[in-house]
């Protein structure tokens, strides 16, 4: 049973990493607009590659 003394801290570290990743995703604006992203993959070819397309500015 003493394996839990190792495994539980490991899971907690993983959970911590998950939360950090989610915070990062929220901060970089990935949850700002949830409608069009899922939809965009339906469309075959992009019109043109636009240089400088980045995440929206924060603040």
């Amino acid at each position: 049973m003493s394996i839990v003394f190792v495994l539980i801290p490991v899971t907690l570290v993983l959970v911590g990493f998950g939360i950090w990743a989610f915070f990062w995703a929220v901060r970089t604006g990935q949850f700002e607009e949830l409608d069009s992203a899922a939809w965009e993959i339906l469309v075959d070819e992009p019109v043109a590659k636009v240089p400088g397309k980045r995440k929206p500015e924060t603040g």
Partner: protein, 851 residues
């Protein structure tokens, strides 16, 4: 393409009765309803973006035909206040009308990218806002705006400062709540797993070290959930207590703190029970509820958005030049009192002012609720935000910015909203009483054990408080409100305020606005009485032929009605030598006879011997006729042929909905800005006894306050800008989805289908929800109170407490879910009105509801 398409390819409106226009796409021709739709469809094809039509989930909005001037926006001085300088160009925030689904956002984004120099466009489908970043050396702002307009949408510029602050606030709120949700959700899952291990261990036997270890780990995970996830509730409770009121946050906070505190204490002393699983689960569910509520709130329009929809950004200023007046386009923000402006036909008046030249008819319906345009000439006042529906006029500015009538209404709205919590938030009385009981019992237990056996005092007191942990108790309200909201949404009623269900159930009186709420809101020809000389159908045809020369709303009403009345709609007659006299009527020849249609005075002036048309009574009289009588006369030189009554037709469902509300025991009343007799007629039609006419926004608010002070709880139903303050000041506000954006911003509930039909059912459902909440609370309180003495004596083993707690919560949830059942089939109280099931609300609906 099918042989005979029935609906427009672009906007989906039926083609029946219209001349079909064909649009040429790459490999096929499609039928559309109007040149606007054709232009939009062809432009989309030209960009190679026809996929838009395959993937959109809602038909597009029909493009408006009036061409807007975008060139004015290229003026650098004007752009200064509206746009923002960026590292490689400028950025602007637009509010785009007509975005109905995600495909629209995609279409706009892609089309803009085809312009060289449009760096980036991010369009939010839910709010209709777009932030566009462009290189001002390569492309002009007017080109971007023109392109969006050509696609069939309508962009409004939101001034940079207000856009940024409102946007930033909404974004910060959304981000914070998402992060809290993640912490609470992941934390809850971990703690649950440990809890299962501990329950199993309890049954099978577990080493004390492992048990203590699991408890310590649970505490480690639950602490950030408690502190970070629970923070908004603690702050809410703190603020409520500081304001000397009790909101739901107070019992929630107290419950959380007691459960968490007891668990920490028990973990520390390695004995007793821990409730980390309940604490985290509770925080997670509460945060989910907050998130859902916030999304609904962000979707409904903000006051800033509504103002930028109403008010124009530019004005045409007149300055004396060498050849008379010179016109230059300036920002409305730059205007000063005393400036002279040109207001063209179809434009919104940019500032309060006095007409100095010309005469026109003005649509003031948004400010006064008056459905018919009123006649305005030299010396008359125009209010900012009203629509010039007639001819171009010159205006001398008398008030700008915050001193305009419109700004006054908005200030009134803010005040009314600020005063509201005191009326509406008395809801948590029961919760606080229950809580007071628990505290009292805990205190008694503490005192008893201190005397009987001091060693057990603390443990027993904590046991009482923890058994009373309002888990089922808080779920009782939460789940019931959530399922009632879902059931309402299915019926076409969108809830934007969590207290709305509670308030709706409490309402004792429903107060209606008239125009646009009980009536359809656009003028219609209601009656025709002929003098007998010419058959009625001919009168209609003559009238329609004459009126087709004018774009006045009344004239359009004639066209619509004549098409419906006249059986042979193909045989349209065309009048010749038509002359339009603004504010009086129209004259024209048909089959050799000279006809006049318009005010009685205008028609009477055609008779030989009558005073010439120039000596007609001043506009005051004509306006009075239109207002109080609404009569339009058709005549020739020999006399009158027919008299038409103009009015605002009641909605088909109004009378039924009102009687169903009365059957529910609700009082009904009309408060309208319109004339006495029109209101009286409508009140009689709907069976409403109490009504008041000619009410200003302030009068309406006054009346509702008076009723409230008499102990009534008011539900206000409205749609216009003039209703906004009274909507904000009533107990619960309900707004038609086509209502003005300002009214929508102050709505608790929105009638999505733009129909009153769902209203009685909504009240009935709210009352059922209230009953279910009461049952849940009684059950939860009963369970807690009966378990408490046993817990106080230390007689409940942990596994039994866990099962009891879960069963109690499940019972409450199942009871609440009963509200969802029967949502699609109108039953019980709402028998008088048949409510068809509506599809779930699409988020674009609010984006497309224009003032």
């Amino acid at each position: 393409m099918p042989e005979t398409p029935t609906d427009c390819f672009h906007c989906g409106e039926p083609l029946a009765g219209r001349a079909v226009v064909w649009a040429h796409l790459h490999d096929s021709d499609v039928a559309v309803c109007c040149p606007g739709c054709r232009a939009a469809a062809q432009l989309i094809a030209q960009f190679g973006l026809e996929d838009f039509y395959r993937f959109r989930t809602a038909p597009s909005v029909r493009p408006r035909e009036d061409a807007a001037e975008w060139l004015a926006y290229d003026d650098p001085k004007l752009q200064g206040g509206l746009t923002r300088a960026e590292s490689n160009g400028r950025s602007v925030v637009l509010l785009i009308d007509g975005i109905t689904c995600a495909a629209c956002s995609w279409l706009i984004g892609r089309s803009l990218q085809t312009l060289d120099g449009a760096v980036q466009a991010s369009v939010n489908t839910a709010t209709g806002r777009a932030r566009i970043h462009w290189d001002d050396r390569k492309v002009a702002l007017s080109q971007l705006l023109q392109l969006i307009a050509d696609l069939g949408y309508r962009p409004h510029i939101v001034a940079a400062d207000s856009a940024d602050s409102a946007d930033a606030r909404a974004r910060a709120e959304r981000r914070a709540i998402l992060q809290r949700l993640a912490v609470a959700g992941l934390g809850m899952m971990q703690v649950m797993m440990f809890a299962v291990a501990m329950y199993v261990g309890e049954a099978q036997g577990m080493e004390a070290t492992i048990r203590s270890y699991l408890r310590a780990v649970s505490m480690l995970v639950a602490t950030p959930v408690m502190l970070y996830g629970g923070w908004p509730f603690f702050m809410g409770a703190y603020n409520a207590l500081r304001m000397r009121s009790i909101t739901m946050d107070v019992p929630v906070t107290l419950g959380l703190m007691l459960a968490f505190g007891a668990s920490v204490f028990n973990t520390w002393r390695h004995a007793g029970e821990v409730y980390f699983d309940s604490v985290t689960m509770f925080i997670f569910f509460l945060t989910v509820a907050r998130y859902v509520e916030m999304m609904a709130r962000h979707r409904s329009t903000s006051v800033t958005d509504s103002l930028s929809r109403i008010m124009p950004v530019t004005a045409h200023r007149l300055r004396p030049g060498d050849l008379g007046d010179a016109v230059s386009d300036v920002a409305v923000a730059e205007l000063a009192v005393g400036d002279r402006l040109l207001v063209r036909a179809g434009e919104v008046v940019p500032a309060d002012g006095e007409v100095t030249h010309g005469r026109t008819s003005v649509d003031e319906s948004m400010l006064t609720g008056e459905p018919l345009p009123v006649d305005r000439g030299c010396g008359d006042r125009l209010a900012a935000g009203t629509l010039n529906a007639g001819e171009p006029v010159h205006l001398r500015v008398t008030a700008i910015g915050t001193s305009t009538v419109l700004a006054g209404i908005i200030a009134l709205l803010h005040r009314a909203q600020a005063e509201r919590p005191r009326i509406a938030r008395a809801a948590d009385r029961m919760a606080s009483r229950f809580l007071a009981c628990v505290l009292l019992i805990a205190a008694l237990v503490c005192v008893f054990w201190s005397v009987a056996d001091p060693a057990r005092a603390f443990a027993a007191t904590l046991a009482v408080l923890v058994v009373a942990c309002p888990c089922a108790f808080s779920l009782a309200t939460l789940v019931a409100v959530a399922s009632a909201n879902a059931a309402l949404a299915r019926r076409g009623v969108l809830v934007t305020n969590q207290d709305a269900i509670e308030s709706l159930a409490k309402a004792t009186r429903v107060v209606f606005d008239k125009t646009g709420t009980l009536t359809s809101g656009s003028p219609a020809v209601t009656e025709c009485t002929t003098s007998g000389a010419v058959p009625e159908s001919d009168c209609w045809r003559i009238a329609a032929a004459l009126e087709s020369a004018s774009e006045h709303p009344i004239a359009r009403a004639f066209g619509a009605r004549a098409a419906a009345v006249s059986p042979a709609r193909d045989v349209r007659v065309v009048a010749r030598d038509v002359r339009v006299v603004a504010g009086a009527g129209i004259e024209g020849s048909l089959g050799g006879t000279r006809y006049r249609i318009g005010t009685p005075a205008f028609v009477a002036a055609a008779r030989p011997g009558a005073p010439p048309a120039g000596a007609m009574p001043p506009q005051g009289a004509a306006e009075g006729l239109l207002r109080d009588d609404g009569a339009i006369v058709l005549g020739t030189a020999t006399g009158e042929l027919a008299r038409f009554t103009i009015g605002d037709l009641p909605r088909v469902e109004s009378a039924r909905a009102v009687s169903a509300l009365q059957a529910l025991g609700l009082g009904t009343e009309i408060l309208s800005g319109d004339a006495q007799c029109a209101v009286q007629r409508l009140a009689a039609h709907c069976g409403i006894k109490d009504f008041a006419a000619r009410q200003s926004p302030g009068d309406k608010l006054q009346r509702v306050r008076e009723l409230t002070s008499r102990g009534e709880f008011i539900a206000m139903v409205g749609d216009g800008i003039n209703d906004a303050p009274v909507l904000g000041g009533s107990g619960v506000s309900i707004v038609m989805s086509r209502g003005s954006a300002l009214a929508l911003a102050s709505a608790d509930l929105i009638l999505v289908g733009d129909s009153l039909q769902a209203l009685p059912a909504a009240f009935a459902l709210a009352r059922r929800a209230k009953r279910v909440i009461r049952q849940n609370l009684t059950w939860a309180a009963g369970y807690n109170l009966s378990a408490m003495p046993l817990a106080a004596l230390g007689l409940i083993p942990p596994w039994l407490a866990a099962i009891g707690m879960s069963l109690s919560s499940i019972a409450v949830v199942l009871n609440s879910l009963r509200l969802m059942r029967g949502a699609a089939s109108p039953a019980d109280h709402s028998k008088a009105v048949a409510v068809p099931p509506r599809p779930l609300v699409s988020k674009s609906l609010l984006g497309s509801s224009l003032p």
